[in-house]
Amino acid sequence: MLDDFLVRAGLGGLGVVLAAAPLGCFVVWRRMAYFGEATAHGAMLGVALSLAFEQSIFIGPLIVAVLMAWTVSLFSQRNYATDTILGVFAHSALALGLVVVSFISGVRIDLMAYLFGDILAVSGSDLAIIWGGVVLICGLMAWRWTPLLLATLNEELAYAAGIKPKREQLILTLSLGITVAVSIKVVGILLIAAMLIIPAAAARQLARTPEGMVALTAVIGAISVITGLSAAYRFDTPTAPSIVCVSLGLFCVFSILGALKHR
């Protein structure tokens, strides 16, 4: 069954939306949309470094994501708003990555595959890494769920409950890095943020509890992947953008349902 490239693509996509569901919700709740996008753009530099040092394509982005988060928190204490710092480093990392890639000779690199993903080329070993990442992230989220929620809700409440919001923030950043790293192959650097934000934003309309929102986000993501994949196959459209377009469609549908419910 895994021999079929469409099945592998589907499994890869489902893995990504599963990992992205809890992270996407936190991105929406904590207003980290720009941070998510910056981490994703920074991954280009990570990819370049991975290629330069002939490492797995998953290692570089992870390291860059963590470095980026650390640098951002360092600089945002120095008279800059966080979004300014993110703007500086996100786009610099993207540009730097593209420049570094151009120096790597020998291999011909298909840039488009990194920028927009190449879900149809997901291999068996890619699947192993993606699902390894999914298990890791779901484990982390399940383990830190309550502290993460409390720290998101209110820092003082978290402190009073003996939770260190800074540490929870680090766990989120790390998870975000892992999500980005395992998503590159599937949706590409430029569209990872879409998979993080759009399903979660759609789910917000009908969710009543945080857990409900995560579950609904995963379902919306899964529908997007399966429908987007079949549409791309049938109409010969680019795959990752098709998946994002289906997500957008679902977002619109849920927004209308949400508006009807609150009337």
Partner: protein, 246 residues
Amino acid sequence: MNLISLKKVTVAYGNSTVLRNVDLNLNSGEIVTIVGPNGSGKTTLLRAIIGSVQPKTGTITLKPGLKIGYVPQRLNFDRTLPLTVQRFLSLSDPVSRDMCIHALQRAGVPQLLKEQMSDISGGQFQRVLLARALLGQPEVLILDEATQGLDQPGSAAFYRQIETVRNETGCAVLMISHDLHVVMSASDQVICLNGHVCCAGTPSAVLSTPEYRELFGTGTGGALALYRHDHDHVHEHDSSGAEAVT
């Protein structure tokens, strides 16, 4: 025994010293109110006690294993996070539906269980926060200007609820308030803060100090007189910390 004890605590943010040499003792069953003008370090003091800021010098001693129930200032609840009142109450520790209802009853809002946190009013919100703090069966309730944004009858009702809770559960209460005249009558001890402790003692003792008058002016005297009532009962504290109301 002291539940919370501060000795010569100094807290600074960067180069500016917010609190200087603050001493404070909280005994079980006691209601202590901290009053002071804006920027006098009231919130910083509470933060130091719950551990979200570290003192520069001095010591803060909590009774080992002390259970603190914290009621913050009106939280900014983001509509981006869907949350029912019931789920909010069971956020730190899983609690049963019955325990949620019981805590909400004690806080005076039993009907809110299924509402969204983002849909309830300011007064209801503070009572839900109070219910949440009570669920942990705290030995100390810490309230940080819990009635900010409530009108005067609303705050008065809220503080009556606090006093009822104290009488029913015997927990100590440490609170910050702007509503001096509403709060003072219920307090056992008042600490007047302005970067340092200006004066401290029973409400009537503090009211008569020149430091207090200087900070708050005599203009509030009339309002205070209006709201003061006679203490027609006595709280006795025996060594076990249990309280006898006669």
